[in-house]
């Protein structure tokens, strides 16, 4: 059987490991690389090599950064009293693209997922609790983990840990703990909404 040239094949095999990319797509992408200018490939290769050397986690919120602290934590114009707890930096990008939020973040880097052997200590939860103990500006924690079983469990766990700190008088009893609203997504068709979403939308209904 015919096999691709070694370099091309290795690239295709590498791409196949990426999420959402199967064998056919990996081949197609590798072939596309062949058509790109030498310079672009050279630059891409350099960026890949330096990626992990130059990318670090923010010491405060665990967002990605090239310095000790990330752009968001360094920004004094942001509301320092508000922390949104998210699972990943991708979630942070979703918040940031819309310019809908002006507080700080805390990136957990995952969610509690026993089936995949991810426990609370694999996430940046302790770091969040330490942050709450130290930073006396914080007035509200928005739990923005995903609306699935693992995200829900993670939010519940974090809430219990924060309540524990409150009971031990390690943080102010006035810190609010909130969770993102559930309901119909904007632009959705009622016909296609699952009953759990509909129930949440009903429960959360508001004056109009």
């Amino acid at each position: 059987m015919f096999s691709l040239p070694t370099n091309l094949k290795k690239i295709a095999l590498f791409l196949e490991r990426l999420p959402g990319i199967g064998q056919k797509t990996a081949n197609r992408l590798a072939f596309f690389f062949l058509r790109l200018p030498d310079e672009d490939l050279e630059n891409f290769a350099e960026n890949i090599k330096n990626l992990k050397k130059k990318t670090k986690l923010c010491k405060k919120c665990f967002n990605l950064t090239e310095n000790d602290f990330c752009q968001i934590c360094e920004d004094q114009n942001r509301d320092q009293s508000l922390i949104t707890v998210i699972e990943s930096v991708i979630d942070l990008l979703s918040f940031e693209t819309g310019n809908i939020y002006n507080g700080l973040y805390h990136v957990l880097h995952g969610k509690i997922d026993p089936l995949n052997h991810v426990g609370p200590y694999d996430l940046k939860i302790n770091e969040l609790l330490e942050r709450l103990k130290k930073d006396k500006n914080i007035k509200e924690i928005i739990l923005a983990t995903s609306p699935d079983m693992e995200g829900e469990a993670t939010a519940m766990y974090i809430k219990s840990q924060i309540l524990d700190l409150k009971n031990k008088n390690l943080i102010s009893k006035n810190i609010k703990i909130t969770r993102l609203a559930y309901g119909l997504p904007i632009g959705a068709n009622l016909e296609y909404a699952d009953y759990m979403t509909l129930k949440k939308a009903l429960d959360g209904r508001d004056d109009f």
Copy 2:
């Protein structure tokens, strides 16, 4: 607005140029790179750098190769009398994965597509005609361009050029020109077949 670390951003922007990859997927893939071992990234970067240096086109059939001639053209066990004309090396892979074909190939590297400024001279059509003139073993040309307007036009054009060579007695009049069969794909549901495919399947019906 928050922006990603430079290296990560450059990688995401590069990936966004690949076919079928939008901004969100590009970000997701770039983030995935962060989680891979250093060594794998290093190797991938090296392969990208060397890709174009080490990958050439076969001097006979324009398949990809690391040498002057490709693995298939070098293989003397293959039927030297049969050439399948295809648009791309990806199509060649489709034939080769099933082990359904034992002849040679000729890769056009595209199809005639006036709207995208691709004419017959941008493809390896002249090289095919020269090959036919030189190689006296060839008995059949299978035109396997895609079953769309451009693929059809390309097949028609190549056929007319080969007939021209026959008329000028530059190649044997016995060389057969064939085209892949049209019809229902295996496993398809009749319900979802478009009427053109159904018509072709009807026209090409056979004793059972």
